[in-house]
């Protein structure tokens, strides 16, 4: 039932919603604008809202060969490598998490094994793991066994973030599939493995795609693990911080870098808003 409101109340409510949306969206709009400005325009006071856009800042980020031919002097920025690193690490983490997490989620949803609830709780506990406390000892371990600054090492350590999430999400998605379908197939004589592969998995596909989007996002967000456990294989979030070092005059290039890191998440909202909402609030709301 929707209640009828007077037009004036309606107008005020719309206005308030608009203001909230503006507060949430304005910083992003401003950063996009900054990334399209010339160096001189960024430094002016008062800040300008109208200007001739330029892609120069993005060129500085990516055009390693031509570094030096810009208004920033001879600054070399290699932003392509960290982006590649982030994509490789995030995709690798998603694939590994799916491979070992979904079977675990299925077992926790459908099968009876000893200590099931304890195991489920143990896995959820990692949502709150003090990452730095794990990383401090890991640093020496990685140095010792040669995993420091390797993709394999990074993908493995990212599992501390992505794996618990995929286990819990796939468990909750599997619980939503009616059990009767599986039982009927088993009654018809299908083997358990076939039931899972040919009946559960296709039904699970939309949920798994959503969960994959979310854990890709979580992997994309990560900063501390890359900062400590890698140097040449560092993700894009670590490369961003380095753009700040040269000082104030680097703002427009940093803004361009920020835009690059923000594009993927914003695209993900467009494709999977419903799944992201569910994943981001997961654990608090079923």
């Amino acid at each position: 039932m929707r209640l009828k409101r007077p037009t004036s109340t309606n107008l005020i409510l719309n206005l308030l919603v608009g203001i909230c949306a503006l507060i949430l969206a304005f910083p992003l709009v401003w950063i996009v604008m900054t990334s399209l400005k010339q160096q001189a325009e960024v430094m002016t006071w008062p800040p300008t809202f109208l200007f001739v856009p330029t892609l120069d800042n993005f060129r500085v980020l990516f055009d390693v060969a031509q570094a030096g031919a810009t208004s920033y002097g001879t600054i070399k920025v290699d932003f392509l490598t960290p982006i590649t690193n982030s994509v490789v690490i995030a995709l690798g983490s998603v694939i590994i998490s799916l491979l070992i997490g979904v079977p675990a989620g299925y077992v926790l949803a459908r099968r009876d094994i000893p200590l099931k609830e304890d195991i489920a709780f143990f896995i959820l506990g990692f949502r709150f793991a003090p990452v730095l406390l794990v990383v401090i000892p890991l640093f020496s371990v990685f140095q010792a066994i040669g995993l420091y600054d390797t993709y394999i090492g990074m993908i493995w350590v990212y599992q501390v973030v992505t794996l618990p999430m995929i286990v819990w999400l796939s468990r909750s998605y599997i619980e939503e599939i009616p059990k009767d379908i599986e039982e009927a197939a088993a009654m018809d004589g299908a083997k358990p493995v076939r039931v899972v592969l040919h009946i559960v998995l296709p039904l699970l596909k939309p949920g798994l795609i959503g969960a994959s989007l979310l854990i890709f996002l979580l992997a994309w967000h990560n900063f501390a693990l890359g900062l400590i456990l890698s140097s040449t294989k560092a993700p894009v979030t670590v490369a961003l911080l380095k753009l700040l070092n040269p000082g104030v005059q680097f703002y427009p290039v940093m803004a361009a870098g920020l835009v690059v890191t923000m594009v993927i998440p914003v695209i993900l909202i467009v494709i999977g808003q419903r799944h992201l909402e569910r994943g981001l609030t997961f654990g608090a709301v079923k």
Binding site: M1, L28, F126, L132, V134, I136, W220
Partner: protein
């Protein structure tokens, strides 16, 4: 007749044997399916305990001999003012951020639950701050809070307020960081409270209205008690994460200016990876973890209490 009975006699135990074999085989399948995930996570659990152990040693990077020194790291820590300053900074940051987010998140959720035209259209915007990398959020606000020519000071000047130092002054740095955290994570509260609001039966509200309850009274005495468990569970999640917050603080102030925003996680990083005192750094993280544990425990207790009362 004899043949038949003997086959039936034979058949039944064999059937049983088949099903029990199938059962135990199923079980092995299940255990095989869950084992890789458990092994990976047990590895992290082992590292966690190894970290706790390191906090009891004098481990420094490059030092060949490591001694077990018991609680000496902790004893040395609690004697320094810097340590207590970090504890205070951690609690102030997390406490004020979560409190502000709960209040603003409730307001935002109520606003979007009105379901007016713009609320329906703008719904995805709520997600925006949550999907950005926290490091990008930190650097975005660093740019905007630049005291010389940042947009924030320009907006303040439009309102006739003179320049604000934001993250570059010890007196305002913590406030600025809390502001960034609030901008980023208020939507988290809003989403969860929104889900809670939608779960409230229209009939309950209708009954209250028929009985003459005014809008404000309906909210205070009927809606608020029903959504308090949602607010508290969101607060548990946020409290844990903001007590552990590293990215936003490291990306903006790195604990400065001076010591003003040096929360435990940032101090632990600097101790372990810039001063290379791994044992001391691990000890700081153990303290941080215990604060998280105590805070979570208290919040969960409160949540249980409220849920019992609401029923």
């Amino acid at each position: 007749m004899t043949l038949q009975s003997s086959t039936s006699q034979l058949a039944s135990p064999k059937d049983k044997a088949v099903t029990s074999a199938q059962d135990s085989r199923l079980d092995w399948w299940s255990i095989a399916a869950i084992t890789p995930a458990i092994i990976v996570l047990l590895g992290f659990l082992f590292l966690f305990f190894y970290g706790v152990f390191q906090s009891l040693t004098d481990l420094k990077f490059g030092r060949p001999l490591v001694h077990f020194i018991g609680l000496n790291n902790y004893a040395a820590l609690i004697k320094t003012g810097d340590f207590w300053n970090s504890v205070r900074a951690t609690l102030v940051y997390a406490g004020s951020a979560v409190l502000a987010q709960a209040v603003l998140g409730l307001a935002l959720a109520k606003l979007f639950a009105t379901d007016v035209f713009l609320a329906r259209v703008m719904r995805p915007v709520i997600l925006l701050p949550l999907v950005l990398p926290p490091m990008s959020v930190a650097l975005m606000w660093t740019t905007m809070m630049d005291p010389q020519n940042g947009i924030m000071n320009y907006l303040l000047s439009l309102a006739g307020i003179s320049r604000f130092a934001w993250i570059s002054d010890p007196n305002t740095a913590m406030f600025s960081l809390v502001l960034i955290d609030v901008w980023t994570y208020t939507p988290f509260f809003a989403l969860i409270i929104f889900a809670g609001l939608q779960g409230i039966n229209e009939e309950i509200k209708e009954a209250a209205r028929v009985n003459g309850a005014k809008g404000w009274a309906t909210f205070l005495h009927i809606e608020l008690p029903l959504i308090t468990p949602y607010i508290l569970i969101a607060a548990v999640f946020r409290l844990i994460e903001s007590l552990n917050q590293f990215d936003i603080i490291f990306g903006t102030t790195q604990g400065g200016p001076g010591n003003s925003t040096s929360v435990l996680s940032v101090r632990a990083y600097i101790t372990a990876f810039q001063n290379l005192a791994f044992g001391r750094g691990a000890a700081l993280m153990v303290v941080n973890w215990m604060i998280v544990l105590i805070g979570t425990f208290a919040m969960v207790k409160l949540w249980r209490l409220v849920r019992q009362r609401v029923g």
